[in-house]
Amino acid sequence: MPAGELDYTSLTDQQVVQLAREGRERAFRELIGRYQRPVFSLIYRLVRDRERAEDLAQDTFIKVLNALDRYNPEYKFSSWIFKIAHNTALDQLRRKEPETLSLDGSPHARTAAEMEASTITPESGDENPEEYTLNRQLGADIEQAISTLRAEYRTAILLCHVEGRPYDEIAQIMGVPLGTVKTYIHRGRKELMQRLEHLRLC
């Protein structure tokens, strides 16, 4: 990093938002960099179609970044962006019935090249080939089990376990009382236990 240049990675979300409001493009890109994976993951696991998830994640960021003036810094930026992502995905789900999850690519893919191009890429890549295959299968089973949950349970479970958000923040994101979030997560976990039992994962 050249001397005198601001290190965006060391700044809080609120500080980066303030810089974006001042018109610094780098700040916008920093926010995208911080949240593109969490937002895309949540939306993908809700709508279960890579192409649609890309479009919805893009819509989410466009809405958020063009409305930074309306962001209230008293609240967490993550809560705000997850709330918009969740609502955007739910709107889409209400309009169209969800399709079957495929970790091997979009169900719209017709050729091997399209299948490869639409395959989801996990973040971690430091496994040996055997572990990778095993984890990929394990992951696929869990992904499959999650995809059968109700959208509300799915969102709550993903925000809790994948994003590590506390219950009160999940309640804020989903716009439901804290008790409802606890119920969603508990019921979601119980359903997952039942679905994964036959796979001897649990």
């Binding site: 001042e22 930074l68 973040e123 971690s124």
Partner: protein
């Protein structure tokens, strides 16, 4: 033979999440030591938690940021734009979001109008009531209300000593500027007040128009 009381799924789930307090945790752990069934169930919960936390975050396709940035306004926001956006967001939070909400708000706002209108119609339907008498009744009530407020304000001023303070300062002013000087100041203040009222009237009540025909239509 005593029946063994096994741990509930909720208790095991809370234990794995670390939500149990010290005493509950001790009781749970002592039960787990001697109960294979609950230990097995605990292992299932642990496996589920581990599997969920191992789920990877997924990566959108390359150039995602560029595609987003192509639709984002990067220009710096002026202070007034930020304030306007915040005001608009605050208004949006207050406004109803659903058709039912709008219906409820409209009904709430319409209620006094409907009640007032209904009362007026009922009063006018009475043989002994005329529009003039109703008007006289309401203006009398208004005047009485204003008098009551003025009287209360005056008595408050007398009690708190504000009236005495004004009289004292006024006396001092008369002593230094003379009666004619005070009269001059009062006349200037009255002139400024009248001018202010006129400006307010022209701008807020009777909006000036460049169109003379319209001006004539709205003049009274």
């Amino acid at each position: 033979m005593t029946e063994i009381q096994h741990l509930t799924a909720e208790r095991l789930e809370a234990y794995v999440e670390g939500l149990l307090d010290q005493s509950d945790r001790v009781v749970t752990e002592s039960h787990l030591v001697g109960c294979a069934r609950c230990q097995h169930e605990l292992d299932e919960w642990l496996a589920l938690f581990a599997a969920l936390s191992d789920l990877p975050e997924l990566e959108p396709s390359p150039n995602f940021a560029d595609r987003v940035m192509a639709h984002v306004r990067v220009s710096p926001r002026q202070a007034w734009q930020q304030q306007a956006a915040r005001a608009s967001a605050a208004l949006a939070r207050v406004l109803p979001r659903t058709t039912f909400g709008w219906g409820l708000a409209t009904a709430f706002l319409a209620l006094p109008i409907l009640l007032g209108g209904g009362l007026t119609i009922w009063l006018l339907s009475q043989s002994y009531m005329t529009p003039r008498s109703i008007w006289a009744f309401f203006t009398d009530q208004l005047v009485e209300g204003v008098r009551a407020v003025a009287s209360a304000a005056l008595s408050w001023m007398l009690q708190t000593g504000i009236a005495a303070w004004i009289a004292e300062r006024g006396g001092g002013l008369v002593a230094t500027a003379g009666a004619s000087g005070v009269g001059l100041i009062a006349a200037a203040a009255a002139l400024v007040t009248m001018l202010s009222i006129w400006v307010l009237y022209r701008n807020l009540i009777r909006t000036p128009s460049r169109n003379s025909t319209n001006y004539a239509l709205f003049s009274f």
